[in-house]
């Protein structure tokens, strides 16, 4: 049965990968709660992961909010429900588009950078050098990045939510002829706290996934420049897929009962 052998082999490889990632995540969490914790490195990574991702996230969410207003207006006008545009924009942004778009953009920007940096450190023996200098690579390299991802992604998404709603407002008022006061009133009238909170929880989950996958693939890269390139690709692809999967899971946990 030459068809089944490769399928079985792929499945086993996949299970082994899941196991290794789970062990890696467990070790990371273990080191997150035990001293020493390098606060200086956490702040440095927060700047790297959070602050420098602001322009990308702002651009993405701005245009997402704008196009959302445009699309929902043209859709809702078919059954004379144009007034729902502001509500649709704010709920879609806070629940879905803010976290998912920001997560995917940061995965491309930060996940790749983390995998490339740690991967290069692996193949040039810098990680071994850390060990010989009495420094745990998990605490020094992995934990600061993962903590920074956990903290900064929700902040980024909150800013992205606001910018996205502003994008919808700009299109709604300037292009679609809404009254500015009533657009803002409609925005907040049906918005619930849970909409925003669920989005921020998603953002924290995505921040964990992006930084963890970047670190995992970088840490286990081998084989010189090609290996580092492979690690970078794997980090972006796996974190993007995991973002979309976990997005569904978190949504189900929050909104179905």
């Amino acid at each position: 049965m030459p068809i089944f052998a490769p399928v079985g082999h792929m499945f086993l490889t996949f299970l082994a990968l899941v196991g290794r990632v789970t062990v890696f995540a467990g070790r990371t969490i273990g080191h997150m709660v035990t001293p020493p914790i390098y606060f200086r490195l956490i702040f440095k990574q927060m700047r790297e992961i959070g602050y420098f991702s602001l322009p990308v996230v702002a651009m993405t969410t701005l245009f997402a909010g704008m196009v959302l207003a445009l699309q929902s207006y043209s859709g809702f006008s078919r059954f004379s429900a144009e007034s729902a545009v502001a509500t649709v924009v704010v709920i879609s942004m806070t629940r879905e588009l803010g976290p998912v778009l920001a997560g995917l953009m940061v995965a491309g920007r930060v996940g790749a950078a983390i995998a490339a940096e740690i991967g290069t450190m692996r193949v040039t023996e810098q990680i071994d050098a850390l060990v010989t200098l009495s420094t745990n690579p998990f605490k020094y390299l992995v934990v600061p990045r993962v903590i920074a991802g956990l903290i900064t992604l929700p902040v980024l998404v909150l800013i992205g939510d606001i910018i996205g709603v502003m994008g919808g407002y700009l299109v709604g008022v300037n292009k679609l002829g809404f009254n500015d006061g009533s657009y803002i009133r409609n925005t907040f009238q049906y918005l619930e706290q849970l909409d925003v909170v669920s989005g921020l929880v998603k953002a924290a989950v995505f921040g964990f996934i992006i930084t963890l996958m970047g670190c995992y693939h970088g840490y286990h890269s081998r084989g010189g420049a090609q290996g580092v390139g492979q690690a970078t690709t794997n980090a972006v692809v796996s974190s993007s897929i995991l973002i979309l999967i976990s997005n569904y899971i978190v949504t189900e946990l929050f909104f179905t009962r």
């Binding site: 450190m121 040039t124 023996e125 810098q126 050098a129 060990v131 010989t132 200098l133 009495s134 420094t135």
Partner: protein, 258 residues
């Protein structure tokens, strides 16, 4: 002998999948002694070193550092061992996110918790020990030449005044004159620290210069072990072939017939 040995390897085996790299390595490094492990490419020199450092775990056998068994050591015992060792990596392995002095001071600041200002002065003193001027202290390691990177790596390895020093191919990848400078520095630094040293190399000139004793690794075992003065008179055909660099001889080379 084995009681006083700083590093003691007994019957160390290590394989990667079907490939058996180490097949029973026995080696002692006495206190204050400098031992060079020589051997061709792919004979397991680096694997031996990584097993001692705990970067790899041997499949079987015993590795003792200062009498403490490392293969079953707790994290605390391993940390204690690493705190008294320094290592110069083949490619220097300097942290390129840090400046030169931060690299040299890394073990002092992160390992020993020294204040950065004090560590910085010490780092600059160490850089001068290896013949580097203080003005490169603020530069990035990537902007240095290979020979300078090796010397910074050496300064980093000796900064914490370790009792045991490991050198991985210290002269590979640099010109012969700079190689000789590195050899002299290694001899000087290990003497000054009174440290035990374990060097892996395939450069016989380097081995003759820095080692008190030479051990030859071939097919996963130490096949010859003796004082550096004896290597030319030893009647071991494998050793003689390696020292002379002949193609003809008993060593099985991993290549097709030329």
């Amino acid at each position: 002998m084995s009681n006083t040995a700083k590093i003691s390897l007994r019957n160390v085996h290590k394989g990667f999948g079907p490939k058996k790299v180490l097949q029973g390595v026995d080696l002692d490094v006495a206190k204050g002694e400098s031992v060079a492990i020589i051997g061709g490419s792919g004979t397991g020199k680096s694997v031996t070193l990584k097993c001692v450092l705990g970067l790899l775990t041997p499949d079987q056998g015993s590795i003792k550092v200062d009498g403490v068994e490392m293969t079953t050591a707790s994290q605390a015992e391993r940390d204690a061992m690493l705190a008294k060792t320094g290592m110069l990596f083949q490619g220097a392995a300097l942290f390129d996110s840090l400046t030169v002095w931060e690299n040299v001071a890394f073990g002092l600041i992160e390992g020993q918790g020294m204040k950065p200002a004090k560590a910085r002065d010490l780092a600059i003193a160490r850089l001068e020990d290896v013949g580097l001027a203080a003005d490169i202290a603020k530069m990035s390691p990537a902007s240095l030449s290979g020979g300078m990177q090796k010397r910074v790596g050496l300064a980093r390895a000796i900064a914490t005044e370790p009792e045991i020093l490991f050198f991985d191919e210290p002269t590979t990848g640099i010109d012969p004159i700079m190689g000789d400078v590195i050899n002299d520095l290694i001899v000087k630094c290990t003497r000054e620290l009174g440290a035990s040293a374990m060097t892996i190399t395939h450069d016989m000139a380097s081995a003759r210069k820095i080692a008190d004793r030479v051990a030859m690794l071939y097919q996963g075992k130490i096949i010859w072990d003796g004082p550096v003065a004896d290597i030319d008179d030893a009647d071991n055909p494998y050793l003689q072939q390696f020292v002379a660099g002949d193609i003809e001889g008993p060593l099985e080379l991993d290549l097709k017939h030329l």
